[in-house]
């Protein structure tokens, strides 16, 4: 692998290979009901309790488009700076499977609802643009459960008919970490928009990953393999790494790569062939005659445009310009809407610089350790803001603040109260400090003499002693000033 962080290359003997990756992300549309029926989409319900006659494909049942899902798809398209197609067509993708009740999936083939767009990635060495090929709406299938019975497969149709957005990227990605950044950015945009919760554990976000390799410097794409249905960013990265190396090994060995669909085995960390191109399904796509072409007006799109919130890229720009944050800090703080909201709430009444450091540093570390999301933060934005003000006005030192912060993690209390109750207020009375310092010098006469004779390093020792005697409460700045005079 290349040492250069900006370039992901696979090295073999005299050859260097570049990896080309394109993603088909399946994002579940945030919606109360399914794409073509009124059944609930709530996660975790008892099997087969959220299945309408339409979802189970009973004879004579007909799909009726859920307008809300259409709006969600268009909003996502706007978020991806993409072309919204005023006319799109639902097609049937025909194949047989036990968890596909209709015997076809309603999808969009030739005319998707959203066309070309782009996503900007913030990589350590700068920004990278990833092209979006299209976004289309489609139905999810049900779930086949193979491990409940030794002989039978069970089918749960709760997911059957749930709306998905398939977001197809151009083959613009070049490394596992770009894929990581891309999926995170996509998820962030959709969370800002409220169009997909991006919850990968619940299967709300999955991806088919297309991987090919080519010798560095060549222009033509290699033969690609599609790794189906990968459901975590980590697995995507692992699968790409494995698959790219597998392909390079084949080429180095003088063999060719078969275009095929592969599966990623997460336990063995390897990809396995699922079906070759020859065995590929003929889906016999054709326009669904039960549904008319979907037509949306300019007015409809314009109204949705008004509902689009400030998205991460714009917010980042604002944070940098208005709050003088570094691009790094801004990127972290806008990564999701909850974080940026928290940040903006904290800085309403407190210092931006301190707030940024405390959120990115102490708070994130604590949340990480406790495995909590920012909306679950034990410390409210208001109280963190108060803590920062206590530091800013000299009531407590930064060090004491960390102690107070620990207490706040246990109990989300007004930090002022904690400071009072625990007697943590900073000692800033010069007279009291002078008395303290006099005592410390008196107790360490020898060292004071050494200091005066030129051993200036001992100054730190005296500061430490004063802080120790004061129980950490002495105002460090004043201690410094007074000590210098006294010594």
């Amino acid at each position: 692998m290349s040492k250069d962080k900006s370039e992901y290359l696979i090295n073999r003997k005299d050859n260097q290979y570049e990896v080309v990756i394109g993603l088909e992300v399946h994002a579940q549309v945030t919606s109360e009901s399914k794409l073509f029926s009124t059944s609930s989409t709530k996660f975790g319900a008892e099997p087969n309790t959220q299945v309408s006659l339409v979802d189970a494909a009973l004879p004579g049942m007909l799909p009726v488009i859920n307008e809300y899902c259409v709006k969600q798809a268009i909003k996502t398209g706007i978020g991806l700076k993409a072309k919204i197609n005023k006319r799109s067509v639902f097609d049937r993708k025909n194949y047989f499977y036990a968890d596909l009740p209709q015997g076809y999936q309603i999808s969009q083939f030739k005319d998707p609802i959203v066309g070309e767009g782009k996503v900007i990635l913030d990589m350590p060495d700068g920004q990278k643009e990833v092209g979006i090929e299209r976004l289309h709406l489609e139905q999810d299938a049900g779930k086949s459960i193979h491990d409940l019975d030794p002989k039978n497969t069970f089918v749960d149709l709760n997911r059957s008919g749930v709306a998905l957005m398939e977001i197809v990227s151009k083959p613009d990605l070049r490394s596992p970490y770009e894929v990581n950044a891309y999926v995170k950015k996509l998820r962030s945009i959709m969370r800002y928009l409220g169009t997909c919760d991006g919850n990968m554990q619940e299967g709300s976000l999955r991806a088919d990953v297309n991987v090919s390799v080519r010798k560095k410097g060549t222009k033509e794409f290699g033969t690609r393999c599609e790794i189906k249905n990968v459901n975590s960013i980590k697995f995507m990265q692992m699968a790409i790494e494995y698959e790219a190396n597998r392909q390079v090994d084949l080429i180095e060995d003088g063999q060719s790569i078969d275009q095929e669909t592969r599966l990623f085995d997460t336990k063995k960390n390897e990809t396995r062939s699922m079906r070759s191109k020859e065995d590929a399904h003929d889906y016999r796509y054709f326009p669904d005659p039960d549904l008319l072409p979907l037509e949306v007006s300019d007015d409809f799109i314009e109204k949705l445009q008004l509902e689009i919130p400030e998205l991460p890229d714009e917010k980042k720009k604002r944070f940098i310009e208005k709050f003088k944050l570094s691009p790094y800090e801004a990127t972290i703080l806008v990564s999701d809407n909850e974080t940026s909201n928290y940040f903006e709430n904290v800085i309403k009444k407190s210092d931006v610089k301190l707030a940024t450091n405390w959120i990115i540093g102490e708070l994130f570390a604590a949340l990480n350790e406790k495995n909590l999301e920012i909306i679950e933060s034990p410390i409210s934005a208001g109280n963190l803001s108060k803590l920062i003000n206590l530091i800013k006005d000299g009531t407590i030192s930064g060090k004491i603040a960390k102690t107070v912060f620990e207490h706040m993690l246990e109990e989300d209390k007004d930090p002022k109260k904690i400071v009072e109750e625990k007697g943590l207020k900073q000692e800033s009375d010069p007279k009291a400090l002078e008395a303290l310092i006099d005592k410390v010098i008196d107790d360490n006469r020898e060292k004071a003499t050494e200091y005066k004779s030129g051993k200036v390093k001992l100054f730190g020792f005296f500061v430490g002693q004063v802080m120790k005697v004061s129980g950490g409460k002495a105002n460090p700045q004043l201690v410094n000033e007074i000590l210098k005079k006294k010594l």
Binding site: L53, A56, A57, L58, P59, G60, M61, L62, P63, V64, I65, R92, N94, F96, A98, P101, Q102, G103, Y104, T153, V155, D282, R284, Y285, F286, P289, D290, L291, L292
Partner: protein
């Protein structure tokens, strides 16, 4: 008062409203005649005792303001009926009892009608003679061993034999009009989008349309008024202003322009059909209309187009019958084996033939040459009609190229069977309304029908022309009750 089952729908309604007849009396009369007519094999499922119970209940507190007050009625077994077995004429659904009601039948019950039972039809409505039904042939009451047409063969037989005063069928390529023509009855295929397809077992979604079948035009108009409604549950349902077709019915069609399409004069058409058409032209002329020769240049391509589009949609629509969720299932070694056995045993030969044709024309590499091409031709066929309707108000053609044929006569010759629909399929492809009315008899004494094709949503005008012609034709159906000992 004449015998109850011989009365038209309008007469029965009048007698019930005038309290001369009760719903129970009427229902019992049709049940009795149906019981005596099992030889016709018109019913797949009889619901007679429930029907009589419902009639008694109706009579206890009769709502005479309804459009079909206490009228018993059997329906084609393609309409899903709540808690009553719905088979679509197939082994595949022989055990299927819906938990829901189709919109069209719900509309009928909402107006006070009572379900007598479910009528035989070609399997999944695929056929022109009712011979593809899993439940066997239906006899045409006109003569022994004569097909009643199809796919709504049970419906046409039941109406002609007066086992039900009226009925509903579905028409994908002629499945209402051709059986009506074969049995001397009236059958209307409304404009695509008039009657909801919700709860109707689908054959070809872009062509399927439910419609009324009756003994006369007025009854047909009334039933159309009941079943035609906008339905949000069907995305292809159209919200247009529907008339009170029976109330607004008039025989005054003076000044209307009737088109005679030269392309319907096909090679080898029997002289009887040619003569019937000529007579028909004289009848409409007598009604004060103007006759114009028109051209529908793409008519020749309608049948091949239909036999690409309809099987393509059917191949996909019937994919849901896989043995997994409901209906027939054959045991198999594994999922694929179960699929193959279920679908090989559950579907009859004609359905399998159409699924294969449909699968083929949608296959990659053939899609453009067949399906896409057929869609383009379909548009041209529609354009033909649009052009014609710039000059005329309606079009007059024969309903079928022949009268009813013998059972078994065409079963081994699918192409000759498909030719039955040559005059009716263009109407489905263009989404237009069409009606078949009985207009005469051939040399064998079998009924022949004429078809009137209207503009989209112009059912009223269509019915008016049919009504005026009916008066002039004064057709009498020759029903001898040969099947009753």
């Amino acid at each position: 008062m004449s015998e109850i089952t011989k009365q038209s729908l309008s007469e029965l309604i009048k007698n019930i409203k005038d309290k001369k007849l009760s719903s129970t009396e009427v229902t019992k009369a049709f049940v009795e005649r149906s019981e005596k007519s099992k030889k016709l094999n018109a019913y797949v499922t009889e619901d007679f005792s429930a029907a009589i119970d419902k009639a008694k209940k109706f009579d206890e507190n009769p709502n005479l303001d309804l459009k079909l007050p206490g009228i018993p009625m059997a329906v084609k077994d393609l309409f899903c009926t709540k808690n009553v077995k719905t088979t679509a004429g197939s082994k595949m659904l022989n055990n299927f009892i819906p938990t829901y009601e189709s919109t069209v039948t719900q509309n009928i019950w909402n107006e006070g009608a009572i379900l007598l039972g479910k009528l035989n039809c070609d399997e999944f409505a695929m056929g022109s003679s009712n011979e593809t039904s899993f439940f066997g042939n239906v006899q045409n009451p006109i003569d022994k061993d004569l097909v009643p047409g199809g796919s709504s063969g049970g419906s046409s037989s039941a109406v002609a034999a007066q086992l039900t005063p009226i009925t509903i069928g579905t028409d994908t390529g002629g499945s209402i009009r051709q059986p009506a023509s074969f049995t001397g009855t009236v059958g209307l295929k409304p404009t695509y989008g008039s009657c909801s397809r919700y709860g109707i077992v689908a054959f070809a979604s872009s062509l399927d349309q439910a419609g009324p079948m009756a003994q006369n035009v007025k009854d047909c108009a009334l039933l159309n008024e009941v079943i035609s409604s906008y339905d949000e549950k069907d995305s292809t349902s159209i919200d247009f202003k529907r008339n009170n077709y029976s109330k607004e019915l008039t025989n005054n069609i003076k000044g209307k322009k009737i088109g005679i399409p030269k392309e319907y004069r096909i090679d080898g058409m029997p002289k009887e059909i040619e003569d019937l058409w000529k007579k028909g032209i004289e009848y409409v002329k007598d009604c004060g209309t103007e006759i114009l020769d028109i051209s529908l240049p793409h008519t020749n391509y309608a049948l091949p187009t239909y036999y690409i589009v309809a099987p393509a949609e059917a191949s996909s629509n019937l994919a849901r019958y896989d043995g997994v969720k409901y209906g027939f299932r054959a045991d198999g070694e594994n999922l694929i084996d179960m699929y193959e056995k279920t679908r090989s045993e559950g579907f009859g030969a004609e359905v399998q033939r159409r699924i294969m044709i449909g699968t083929y024309v949608l296959s990659s590499g053939y899609y453009d040459a067949y399906y896409l091409k057929a869609q383009k031709v379909r548009k041209l066929i529609k354009n033909d009609f649009d052009e014609a309707y710039k000059k005329v108000d309606a079009i007059l053609t024969p309903s079928t190229p022949s009268s009813a044929f013998k059972i078994g006569e065409k079963t081994n010759d699918p192409v000759s069977m498909y030719l039955n629909d040559i005059f009716t399929v263009p109407v489905n492809l263009a989404g237009l309304p069409g009606i078949s009315i009985p207009a005469g008899h051939d040399a064998k004494g079998y009924p022949l029908g004429l078809q009137i094709i209207g503009k989209a949503f112009d059912e009223q005008n269509l019915l008016n022309i049919a009504y005026a012609m009916e008066e002039k034709i004064n057709f009498k159906n020759k029903i001898t009750d040969w099947w009753i000992k």
